[in-house]
């Protein structure tokens, strides 16, 4: 068991740190959360900057330990989040890289890496919820095209995306995990309607996407027809691996800020609150160690079971963090004031136990796939 960097890792960390120190001061101002064109430009610009410096493919080309260092150092330095490039760099990109043809790789991967195109994810559907395979969006073959009709929901960045990684049902008679196909759909195709959804935090974080006889070339299919579920599973686990590294680092920083704020407004004298913050320190330290454990395991090519375990605990801890933040803000209604720091984060954190598989689904995954309990109902 070793927690220190290898010489190569140390070299990468030092070089990255030095580069961040030079690159970050010239960054443009951050756009407002509801300015989608602004966010698109900002996120693509940052990706281009990374690409030019040789860090463009760190999310899927690199060793997991190197990726972890990247996420850790960029978060510590306050660099932009992957943002609108999330689906492209962390999901569609790795999928195309692993399962696409040479032609498809040459067509889609370079623009992603250079920060020229944004991808969104057309997986979830209004009636499917946590049962991803229950999707009903249909696709028929018509010559060299698929004709797609249906609806997708919770689609982040749909308003500004160039491409959508889309799961469609191509065989309605096959068992539900079988007749599914993975398509790359151009978002400017006729028949696509994007309707933004307003979250409980008041922001337009994602959208509904309606598909009315949208034509997608058969050449845009990744993997075989009706093999889309397997193609998806190849990369879906990624979301639960290193994807949260930056967020754990961010939560540790917020926790330290809460302590300072509590000291300044006198709330620190409350032993109950103080001990609660201490407990959260233990929590996020452990989550960081669990991340390091999972990343080390992944580096050895072991199919880790840590993803669901981590996701369950982290999503809960993040909510507890912002509940504690409300306590730190104290009496007098500060925790009800949207202008105060952490109040919006408190609202946003509510999605964590729902998004990317609810905690209830994750508990069942752990019980059945990790502990080997019988299939439940």
């Amino acid at each position: 068991m070793d927690l220190s960097d290898t010489p190569q890792e140390a070299e990468f960390r030092a070089r990255l740190r030095e580069w961040l120190g030079k690159a970050l001061p010239s960054l443009p101002a951050k756009p407002s959360p509801d300015d989608w064109p602004g966010r698109r430009a900002y996120d693509l610009g940052w990706q281009r900057t990374l690409y030019d410096a040789g860090y463009g493919d760190v999310h899927w080309g690199a060793d997991p330990a190197v990726r972890m260092i990247y996420l850790e150092e960029t978060e510590k330095a306050g660099a932009p989040y992957v943002g609108a490039n999330f689906v492209g760099l962390l999901h569609a990109g790795p999928t195309v890289a692993a399962e696409g043809t040479d032609e498809q790789r040459a067509h889609w991967l370079p623009p992603m890496l250079r920060g020229e195109e944004v991808w969104c994810q057309g997986f979830s559907e209004p009636d499917a919820g946590s049962d991803l395979a229950a999707l009903r969006t249909r696709a028929w073959r018509d010559g060299d095209d698929y004709v797609v009709s249906g609806a997708k929901i919770w689609t982040s960045h749909a308003e500004v995306a160039d491409w959508c990684e889309l799961l469609v049902r191509t065989d309605p008679h096959a068992p539900k995990h079988r007749g599914i196909t993975w398509l790359a759909m151009p978002m400017d195709a006729p028949g696509i309607t994007v309707r933004p959804l307003r979250t409980l935090a008041g922001s337009n974080e994602f959208a509904e996407v309606f598909l009315d006889e949208v034509r997608v070339p058969v050449a845009n299919r990744v993997g075989e027809e009706n093999d889309g579920w397997r193609v998806t599973m190849v990369t879906l686990s990624f979301e639960r691996g290193t994807a949260f590294v930056g967020e754990v680092v961010a939560c540790r920083r917020v926790l330290a800020e809460l302590a300072v704020a509590a000291r300044e407004n006198g709330r620190w004298d409350d032993p109950v609150l103080r001990r609660r913050l201490g407990r959260l320190n233990a929590e996020f330290r452990a989550l960081w160690r669990l991340t390091q454990w999972n990343v080390s395991e992944a580096s050895e090519g072991v199919p880790g079971v840590g993803g669901s375990v981590f996701k369950l605990r982290y999503s809960h801890a993040r909510q507890e963090l912002y509940e504690a933040a409300a306590e730190v803000l104290g009496e007098g209604g500060a925790a009800l004031d949207l202008e105060q720091p952490w109040v919006l984060d408190r609202l946003s954190s509510l999605s964590y136990t729902i998004a990317a598989g609810t905690s209830q689904i994750q508990h069942s995954i752990v019980a059945e796939r990790v502990l080997g309990l019988p299939k439940g109902r």
């Binding site: 068991m1 070793d2 927690l3 220190s4 960097d5 290898t6 890792e9 330990a65 926790l255 330290a256 809460l258 302590a259 300072v260 000291r263 103080r274 001990r275 609660r276 913050l277 201490g278 407990r279 320190n281 233990a282 929590e283 330290r285 452990a286 989550l287 160690r289 669990l290 390091q292 454990w293 990343v295 080390s296 395991e297 580096s299 050895e300 840590g306 375990v309 369950l312 605990r313 209830q360 994750q362 508990h363 069942s364 752990v366 019980a367 059945e368 990790v370 502990l371 080997g372 309990l373 019988p374 299939k375 439940g376 109902r377």
Partner: protein
């Protein structure tokens, strides 16, 4: 960074597990309880087993080879104590381990060493050859754990801070072992026990209890192993908090999964819970850890 067990560490873990399986299986555990359970007389400590542990290097694990020890580090000690925690190995294991090289006979298992800990409590006072700290006026109590006799002392001994840290870390390791074991027991029971015509493990309510136990184990494991590597007081405090939680909550949930059977003396579940409670009150208690970790948040603040 390679935060995984090395081959040597796996081998050590398997070796200790094998030794304990052969020498302290479930029958031995139940036999050790015979006559225990609230009697005035302390349960007996198995001196033969103690010496075997000594010759296997359990107590001298971290002593340098020049001093007759095994010359390994804290991570290895943590793995060994985790195994002890899995099987509820009785005796003042940590005190004797920490006395190796200091108290003659401790390293080899010839001497049984106990300590007056910061909480004003002594474990296994009657069986000990050597007591570190002032145990004057120690009064026996009816220990909740039938396999850990306890005495109360009037004046708590503040003790050596290094020992307090290491005691806390090794306690966390034992708790981790217990937590992992109760997870297995809960899962085993949930797979085999049938109700309403199917294994109870097929019911989500039971599944989620079991998954919760495992999540606490895995989070605690990462924290405990990391603390063994860094020996940082805040890491140790975090490890202790999470391992105490994993063991105590895990044993309680395991008992719940066992239903009415879990409430009987015959089922082993109560033994895991009671031992976890005994360990949880050792120095480095919840309040102490939480305060330390709170203070640490401000340590680097401007």
């Amino acid at each position: 960074m390679r935060f995984q067990l090395t081959e040597d560490q796996w081998a050590l873990r398997d070796g200790v597990r094998g030794l304990l399986a052969a020498r302290f299986g479930r029958e031995r555990l139940r036999a050790a309880m015979e006559g225990a359970g609230g009697a005035e007389v302390e349960p007996e400590l198995d001196r033969g087993l103690w010496r075997e542990l000594g010759s296997a290097g359990f107590f001298s694990l971290r002593l340098p080879e020049e001093a007759g020890g095994v010359g390994l580090g804290l991570p290895e000690a943590v793995l060994a104590f985790e195994e002890a925690g899995r099987v509820l190995l009785p005796g003042p294991l940590i005190a004797t381990h920490l006395a190796a090289g200091v108290v003659p006979g401790a390293a080899t298992g010839e001497a049984v060493v106990t300590v007056v800990d910061g909480g004003g409590v002594v474990e296994w006072l009657g069986a000990a050859d050597v007591v570190r700290g002032d145990a004057a006026g120690a009064a026996p109590m009816r220990s909740v754990d039938p396999l850990t006799p306890l005495h109360r002392v009037a004046e708590p001994d503040s003790g050596d801070r290094t020992d307090v840290l290491l005691t806390s870390l090794l306690t966390a390791a034992e708790q981790l072992g217990t937590a992992a074991r109760v997870c297995e027991l809960a899962v085993q029971h949930a797979r085999t026990r049938e109700q309403f015509g199917r294994p109870i493990g097929a019911f989500q309510a039971v599944q989620h209890l079991c998954a919760g136990i495992l999540v606490r184990v895995e989070v605690a494991r990462a924290a405990v192993y990391a603390a063994a590597v860094t020996v940082d007081p805040a890491d140790i405090a975090a490890a202790r908090l999470l391992a105490d939680e994993a063991a105590v909550r895990g044993a309680r949930d395991c008992l719940q999964v066992h239903g009415g059977m879990g409430f009987t003396w015959e089922a082993d579940v109560h033994l895991y819970l009671k031992r976890a409670w005994v360990r949880a009150r050792r120095p480095g208690s919840i309040t102490e850890c939480e305060e330390l970790l709170a203070a640490e948040l401000l340590a680097e603040a401007p």
